[in-house]
């Protein structure tokens, strides 16, 4: 029995089983078929080279230019998208920072208002505890009270839309400082009177 077409090809390509190779070595018909297969392979490899019937480079160059243009547009699109994203992020971050600053401002202002109220309570508690002993002390008290009145007028003139502004915070800081000074004067006087 002769070799199958697959076995003939396997012998030609050096991939045959030992049995198939032995058969091919001893069978002139199969050996001739294998030589035919080799000849076909050689003939295929020797087929003439062909050139395209038309010059394809101009079309290819145009396509390459179109591809590059599309890539440029893509990059430009990405750049625009990145810029938009960065802008949005900046706005968001800025908004976040502003919100945080606003919250801090509100908290500090409330703290100053509470401190101011506490100082006023102490002033009321010490009011009438004695008389003024020197004109210098009386002058200081009047001066402090005048400055507090000016600040109160400024605070009253600020609308609710600016209730948490930096200016209001500064006014309250100044008011607390003046009240503190006023309390100190009153305490000193009370202590002196108490002597």
């Amino acid at each position: 029995m002769h070799l199958s077409p697959e076995d003939l090809l396997a012998v030609r390509d050096g991939e045959a089983t030992p049995e198939a190779a032995d058969h091919a070595a001893s069978c002139p018909e199969c050996a001739a078929r294998i030589e035919d297969l080799r000849a076909v392979r050689r003939a295929l490899a020797a087929l003439p080279q062909e050139r395209p019937p038309q010059d394809l480079w101009p079309a290819l160059r145009a396509e390459l230019a179109a591809v590059r243009q599309r890539r440029r547009w893509l990059i430009a699109g990405w750049a625009a998208a990145c810029f938009a994203a960065a802008f949005t992020l900046a706005i968001a971050v800025r908004g976040g920072i502003e919100a945080w600053q606003e919250a801090t401002l509100t908290r500090e202002t409330r703290h100053l208002v509470a401190e101011s109220q506490m100082l006023e309570q102490r002033l009321r508690a010490s009011a009438g505890a004695g008389r003024v002993v020197t004109g210098r002390t009386a002058g200081a008290i009047v001066q402090l009270e005048d400055r507090i009145a000016v600040i109160d007028a400024q605070l009253n003139g600020i609308g609710p839309d600016r209730a948490d502004s930096q200016d209001v915070l500064k006014l309250w800081q100044e008011r607390v400082r003046l009240l503190d000074a006023l309390v100190n004067v009153q305490m000193t006087r009370t202590a002196y009177v108490g002597l």
Binding site: S4, P5, L44, L47, Q49, L56, L64
Partner: protein
């Protein structure tokens, strides 16, 4: 033969470039400088590469595809892919070998697209005549020996997959395992297709030949 420095110099309009040198075995080594310039996007270098490889790639595509138009498409798609991927090419193999593999991949893709549109079938006599006419259109074959034309025509008569397997295996040197990987089939399928291709060629080249050994 093929691209020499004269050709490259003509294409490159006095640009100082390297070139590609055809080896005695028919393969080509591409000059590092030419390759570097092509990688950098030099249109002149890309054209020099195209001018050198258009004939071998077109011939390969012509053997794998049924019509010259399909072969032209494969040639164009191959070079577009080469331009896209040339920066990733490493000197692990020859540049020509890389281009040929890209061409095989593109041809296989096209064959799959065609197979999805129309079931694979052998050429009718009318289609074969059209293919034969196409194959000579605008082409000046180097060899005109009758047996070569017969073989070329017989090859064109083979079904797409069968022709693909015999060409890749017997001429391009692919193993059955490599063909199986490329086509998504098995090595056994590749072997049976190769045997079928040779049987059909034998029938067509020697009409009164006896059947296969039994």
């Amino acid at each position: 033969m093929a691209l020499n420095l004269f050709e490259a110099a003509t294409v490159l309009h006095r640009e100082t470039l390297g070139g590609a040198v055809t080896q005695p075995g028919g393969t080509t080594s591409v000059d590092e400088l030419l390759l570097a310039r092509a990688k950098a996007g030099s249109e002149a270098a890309l054209e020099a590469l195209f001018r050198h490889f258009e004939a071998p790639v077109y011939t390969l595509a012509r053997r794998l595809m049924r019509t010259p138009q399909d072969a032209e498409d494969v040639l164009q798609e191959t070079f577009l892919e080469v331009v896209r991927s040339i920066k990733r090419f490493r000197r692990e193999g020859s540049f020509e070998g890389w281009i040929r593999r890209v061409a095989v991949s593109k041809a296989l893709m096209k064959l799959r697209q065609q197979a999805a549109r129309i079931p694979e079938e052998e050429l009718t006599p009318e289609m074969a005549a059209a293919v034969a006419a196409d194959s000579n259109h605008g082409v000046a074959p180097v060899a005109t020996a009758p047996e070569r034309l017969d073989l070329e025509a017989a090859l064109a008569h083979l079904p797409g997959t069968t022709r693909f397997v015999i060409w890749l295996h017997d001429v391009e040197g692919y193993s059955h395992e490599e063909i199986a990987a490329a086509t998504g089939r098995t090595a056994s399928f590749s072997k049976s297709q190769l045997a079928r291709a040779h049987a059909r060629l034998r029938e067509m080249l020697t009409p009164h030949a006896e059947g296969p050994c039994t």
